[in-house]
Amino acid sequence: MNPMAAVSVALTALRVNALRSFLAMLGVIIGVGSVIVMISISQGAKAAVDAQISALGANSLQVRPGSSFRGGVRGGAGSAAPLSDEDVEALREQIPYVIAAAGIIQQRGLTALVDGVNWSTEVVGAHPDYFFVRDWAIVEGRAFTVPELDGAARVAVLGRTVVNELFPAGGAIGATVRINGVPLEVVGILTERGQSSWGQDQDDVIFVPTPTMRDRLAGFARAGVRNPVQSIWVSVDQARNIPLATEEIIDVMRVRRNIRIGADDDFSVVNFAEFIRARSETESQLGLLLAATAVISLVVGGIGIMNIMLVSVTERTREIGLRLAIGARRADVRNQFLIEAVVLCSAGGLIGMICGAIGALVVESLGQFAVSIEPTIALVAIAAAAGVGILFGFYPAHRASRLNPIDALRYE
């Protein structure tokens, strides 16, 4: 029998029992559908994590003051002595792995004013290296320069959201923005970053040189420390040097802060990328577990196919006997039932794939997860469904082909 005729025989048999065929497929539909949803979600989550990590900047670390411990009373985070521009210089100069370092001072809720339009935003005083450390490109204009930094120049670099709010008609570069009455010239605009992993709008920000922030805008001062900063961001040359760089930063800072041997650090070095990875590790393990569940449901679907095919073979014993009597070879009978199983599973796989894709989009629209649907996964899912058909269809088909024609014809 030629293959086309075999497929058409199988399709006819399936159409004759359309409802049962559909019910048999349901297991595979659910199995493939859930595999697609799970993989799409975990792919989406992975993409989101990658985006978050790249938004931090490559190989970046943050140094921040920890809690003080005086007279048996532990202060809150940041209650220890602040960091300073001199610390930034020391890290940059003394540690070979550190290729860039920038101290920053952040303050939220400052009002920026342009021609009567105002916008409350976050203002960050930073060293120009900060844009390098955070891997944050200037899309228009330029970053401020080191001479501008040293001279506490009245210049600003704006995030996209601020530009959109204050300059809806454009023309931001060269314009003047007032913060706390201080006029600042806009020299650059940053590329759009979107939401952070904490759901904060990263583009709602204005950058100014650190001394400008410290001396002119916010009056950031700490007793006993000259040129204080809130935290320091450093960039390490290579990912594999991050542990070494972390150790050296700790050594340098302990010396600079006169911490006795054996005493606890009163500052911390944070690797945010590691944080995000650790968190996503849990997520991806959960995803793996869900994918395993989905694969199990695919296997259960396959068992359903096997069950229905065994019922079908038993029910059609006389038909098989007749086919054998009029000249079907064993392979013809085996192929007929095998093709039925494969057609059932592939159709189930196709429907499951469509349902899975729709399901993934629904999940995305509910806003719980980012999803990413990849065509290769869809192909793999259909191939897996067809494989399930062959795997679970073989035994019933083989059994059908081994029937004795006389017994089969007499079967009641």
């Binding site: 005729a5 006819t12 054998l324 009029i326 000249g327 064993r330 392979a331 014809l409």
Partner: protein, 227 residues
């Protein structure tokens, strides 16, 4: 005399069952010529059905010789026998054995499918066979839309589709009333007249009376053979 179409010598068939061996055939000698019209008769359990199954290559002998159209049917593989059935034999069963929810035309075309004939030729040949049994108007009917006699005629058309040399009918009128039995037997008479070798199993005397030759079985042996 010309070489017989079917030649059986000392044909035996033993079924091994739990309670001991059952000897369904105990050494049957029989020649059947091309174009003969044979009624095989006997009580149930006499071995007549086993003999028919042998002739149709549905069952294989335990011993002896069986040659049909020059081919020995001993020690053949299942696929070999399938090919033999497809080319040499047409079967008509008591219960018709048509595929449900399948048109008369597709039922009749079924044997040709296993011969690898292209779809268009299958349909043409099936239509031809249905016209031969007087069902040219009902080719698209399903078995459930046909009477018993019509269903048996579809089954005969299916048996004829691959132009067999031998037509084997097992109680072909067993499920039909006397009027439709007559119609079916008339078709058999015509087919034999056109040269096909016809062998039918029956326990009805009037059906047996139409045959040219009657073979009667008892306890696995031929006890009567009348021309």
């Amino acid at each position: 005399m010309a070489k017989p179409l079917i030649r059986a010598r000392q044909l035996t068939r033993v079924y091994r069952l739990g309670g001991g061996d059952v000897h369904a055939l105990r050494g049957v000698d029989c020649d059947i010529a091309q174009g003969d019209y044979v009624a095989v008769m006997g009580a149930s359990g006499s071995g007549k059905s086993t003999f028919m199954n042998m002739l149709g290559a549905l069952d294989t002998p335990s011993g002896g010789e069986l040659t049909i159209a020059g081919q020995s049917l001993l020690n053949r593989t299942p696929d070999d026998l399938a090919k033999f059935r497809n080319e040499m034999v047409g079967f008509v069963f008591q219960q018709f054995n048509l595929l449900p929810r399948t048109t008369a035309l597709d039922n009749v075309a079924l044997p040709l499918l296993y011969r690898g004939m292209p779809a268009a030729r299958r349909k043409a040949r099936a239509a031809e066979c249905l016209k031969m049994v007087g069902l040219g108007e009902r080719m698209d009917h399903h078995p459930s839309q046909l009477s018993g006699g019509q269903q048996q005629r579809v089954a005969i058309a299916r048996a004829l589709a691959n132009e067999p040399r031998i037509l084997l009918a097992d109680e072909p009128t067993g499920a039909l009333d006397s009027k439709t039995s007559e119609d079916v037997m008339d078709i058999f008479d015509q087919l034999n007249a056109s040269g096909i070798t016809l062998i039918l199993v029956t326990h009805e005397a009037d059906v047996g009376a139409r045959a040219k030759r009657r073979i009667t079985f008892r306890d696995g042996l031929i006890v009567e053979d009348t021309q």
